[in-house]
């Protein structure tokens, strides 16, 4: 039980060494008898590729080697470089093992942990420079990052409240409840310039200020963890890797606005995150960091988790509130804003996980530290989930103002297979795409909006030349059509009509006037919809129309899909002269569409194959089988 700040500091001091051990250049730090820390990523991505079993096997092997006194194995949150998972890091060196399998565990234990020789063949290739082995912090992926919200992810054991305290955890809460007035707290948040990390980028301090200004009484602090944006998973990572940061921040928010109850609304698709957060809440409660008389003051705060059940719209704040109240997740008109009339009609603040994760740091390090990062109107850092056609799929945290090119080419390692960057989609289904011509745009709230996109929660999907932008717009629209709640007419009917026009175009039945209709309808839906979902749903259409109108026209006028994606607008063909007649393609074909001709090309032994376009389902399964001869093509 932690009764006061002295108790807290005692634990912090006891664990600080352990945490410092896991920082870059940790050679100088000691952790008592322990000589090595083995950090294994326990995020969803790596867990999916068996990191938990790897940890168990590792511990067994360490025990078998008799070095369990000297090595501590920790299952942490996400390191960010999900593409390379499962990831294992060994400190103090910071050696970076990637794509570890169960089979490689023994070798790592025996060679590296026992004999002190890192096993090069399992190391992430970028960290091996001849004889020299770089630590993960020296890789381009990490070098350009600035980890604030993610600072503890991949560093601490999320199941251990003491490790969190070892990173100065809960000291911000301690400072707030003992040294600061609620007004002080809000002023600090306001001065930091932090804006909401989940969607529109509303200044967090202003939100708190509104709620604090409401008459005393029941108020609520809500965390939006309904990260529905497909391809974005920063909130999940924080919940999995650093759950106490959220708890601490929500308690601080409670103190600031005069609330003593908090709700975290999390997607049910995130079982690991929910489990770790629940554990953390239980631990914090047990230690007295939640509940009555927190740290010996008369401040009281407690919180609970509510699970979503599969509705993207619940990421919209008013829909989230109706969902917490146990109803269909349908948004409510604003005003009244939640800060005035929120959960069960009471003043409520809603921030997302990433926003909260920044709060304790702002309190501890000060508003000016935070506002020294970023651009004029977008302060601090932002976490992005890199996905799509990019080498380093994963989570990155960059100072606002970093260019898109830096993110994709340097941190993200560029586009694989020598393909060209075509566009990046930010903000998920609510956002838009940024074309290659704007590759050097500095990423911040306002610049993205100026590009017809938005920050959203931070999904960043990279597209190469194989992506059809009309199809992409269709994909996002299908998503919003599916996820529209159906309450207001513009979104319910409008998005469907929009999708129908896109379908018409991708099926080769489009007319030029459809483009005008798309624009008219899209702009209407934007201005008339009830909530953020509808108001942003047309963005993918509008931004692809603005940046890739040619592609639309190619679909409509030439009846061609330049990227070769829209199935109705191309057929698979076999170049009879290139075909060696090996027949591998026919074996892959699920539709029996490939047969042998009588034609034997000059110099070939076997008769060439052909595709019956009436049978072909255009699944593309044949394509990889002909990688060697490149005889199959789209035309």
């Amino acid at each position: 039980m932690i009764n006061n700040i002295a108790d807290l500091i005692k634990i912090r001091d006891a664990y600080a060494g352990k945490i410092a051990f896991r920082q870059h250049g940790a050679e100088k730090v000691s952790d008592g008898k322990i000589e090595k820390h083995v950090l294994i990523c326990g995020g969803t991505g790596c867990t999916s590729s068996k990191s938990v079993q790897i940890k168990e096997k590792m511990e067994a092997a360490i025990k078998a080697a008799g070095i369990e006194e000297k090595v501590q194995v920790v299952l942490t949150g996400c390191f960010g470089l999900c593409a390379l998972g499962p990831i294992v890091i060994v400190y103090p060196e910071g050696t970076f093992y990637s794509r570890i399998t169960l089979d490689s565990v023994d070798e790592i234990v025996n060679e590296h942990l026992v004999n002190g020789n890192p096993v090069k063949k399992y190391l992430y290739s970028e960290t091996v420079k001849g004889d020299q082995i770089l630590s993960l912090n020296e890789t381009t992926f990490y070098k350009k990052q600035k980890r604030v919200a993610l600072r503890n992810c991949g560093v601490i054991d999320p199941h251990c409240i003491n490790e969190y305290i070892g990173t100065n955890g809960y000291l911000a809460l301690a400072k707030v409840v003992t040294e600061m007035t609620p007004e002080d707290v809000i002023k600090e948040i306001l001065d930091s310039g932090i804006r909401g990390r989940g969607g529109g980028g509303f200044p967090t301090g202003r939100k708190w200020q509104f709620a604090a200004a409401q008459p005393k009484g029941q108020k609520y602090v809500v965390c939006n963890g309904d990260e529905g944006d497909p391809g974005a998973f920063m909130d999940r990572s924080i919940l999995e890797g650093d759950p106490h940061a959220l708890i601490e921040a929500m308690a601080i928010a409670g103190y600031a606005i005069g609330a003593n109850e908090g709700y975290v609304y999390v997607r049910a698709e995130y079982p690991i995150a929910v489990n770790r957060l629940q554990n953390a809440i239980d631990d914090a409660r047990r230690e007295g960091l939640l509940g009555k008389n927190i740290l010996g003051t008369d401040f009281e705060f407690d919180m609970q988790i509510r699970l979503g059940a599969g509705a993207f719209v619940c990421g919209e704040e008013t829909a989230l509130l109706t969902s917490i109240e146990g109803n269909r997740g349908e948004p409510r008109p604003r005003p009244p804003f939640p800060a005035v009339k929120g959960l069960w009609g009471k003043p409520t603040i809603i921030n997302n996980v990433e926003t909260y994760a920044n709060i304790p740091q702002i309190i501890l390090k000060g508003a000016s530290w935070f506002s020294s990062m970023g651009t004029e109107r977008s302060k601090g850092t932002k976490v992005f989930a890199l996905g799509g056609k990019i080498t380093n799929t994963g989570l990155v945290e960059i100072p606002m103002g970093t260019t898109l090119r830096e993110v994709v080419e340097e941190i993200g390692g560029g586009i694989p297979n020598g393909k060209k960057f075509k566009a990046a989609q930010t903000g998920g289904p609510s956002g838009g795409c940024i074309p290659a011509s704007k590759y050097d745009v500095e990423i911040d709230y306002d610049n993205l909006i100026a590009q017809g996109s938005m920050m959203g929660s931070g999904g960043l999907i990279v597209m190469d030349e194989d992506t059809c932008m009309v199809d992409l717009a269709k994909f996002f629209l299908e998503f919003t059509v599916d996820e529209s709640c159906g309450k207001c007419a513009p979104c319910r009917i409008g998005t469907v009509r929009l999708l129908e026009i896109l379908n018409k175009i991708t099926e080769g039945n489009g007319e030029m006037e459809d483009l005008d209709k798309l624009e008219e309808l899209a702009n209407y839906i934007k201005s008339a919809s009830l909530c953020g979902l509808g108001q942003t749903a047309p963005n993918p259409v509008l931004s692809t129309l603005a940046n890739f109108r040619d592609e639309y026209i190619a679909h409509i006028v030439d009846k061609k899909c330049p990227a070769g994606v829209c199935k109705k607008l191309f057929t698979y063909k076999i170049d009879l002269d290139k075909c060696m007649g090996c027949g591998l393609c026919a074996k892959q074909c699920p539709a029996d569409a490939i047969s042998r001709t009588d034609y034997v090309a000059e110099g070939h032994k076997l008769a060439s194959m052909q595709i019956d376009s009436t049978k072909c389902v255009k699944c593309g399964a044949c394509l990889p089988s002909c990688k060697k001869f490149q005889a199959i093509y789209k035309g």
Binding site: S48, E269, N327, G387, I461
Partner: protein
């Protein structure tokens, strides 16, 4: 999104009913507990047949239409039991861009059912799921709790064979 009406007949057990009543009692004083109760009820029965929803409506003293309105709104609530092996393909953006659609096509042909259906022997059900956050492994699918990542369509048959 239209919910498929229940096609199997209800054969809930006494134990399940006791478990459900326990869940309802646990949430008795909690505001806005309907969703949590439905989630746990689905955990108990595997799906949410009318009998279960009616039971919840009566116990909570709310109209059945309200319970059903909530159950039919959220995609995770289902009115039919899943197959013994629930196959879900992630159709999140990262997976989609990396060809998850092709995985779905392949699964449909391998299992002989469409997205959202269940095989006649109830062995497999096939669904599209929203982003599960394993974007680093894209494209992914899950069978029950097991995650399979970095897939290509030619790997599908092998995965399904493991459960057959």
């Amino acid at each position: 999104m239209k919910k498929k009406m229940t096609t199997v007949s209800f054969n809930g057990t006494k134990e399940q009913e006791i478990a459900l009543d326990k869940v309802i009692a646990e949430h008795k004083d909690q505001k806005g507990a309907l969703m949590a109760i439905l989630q746990k009820a689905q955990g108990i029965y595997g799906y949410l047949p009318i009998e279960v929803q009616q039971h919840i409506a009566l116990a909570m003293d709310i109209p059945l239409s309200e319970v059903y309105g909530v159950a039919s709104f959220y995609s995770q609530f289902i009115l039919n039991p899943k197959g013994n092996h629930a196959v879900s393909v992630c159709l999140g953006t990262a997976c989609y861009v990396k060809g998850a659609g092709l995985l779905m096509d392949k699964l449909e042909s391998v299992l002989g059912i469409k997205n959202g259906e269940i095989t006649a022997d109830r062995k497999f059900s096939l669904d599209a799921t929203r982003c599960i956050g394993a974007c680093g492994l894209a494209p992914v699918l899950t069978v029950n709790e097991e995650v399979y990542g970095r897939l290509t369509p030619d790997m599908i048959a092998g995965i399904i064979a493991k459960y057959n």
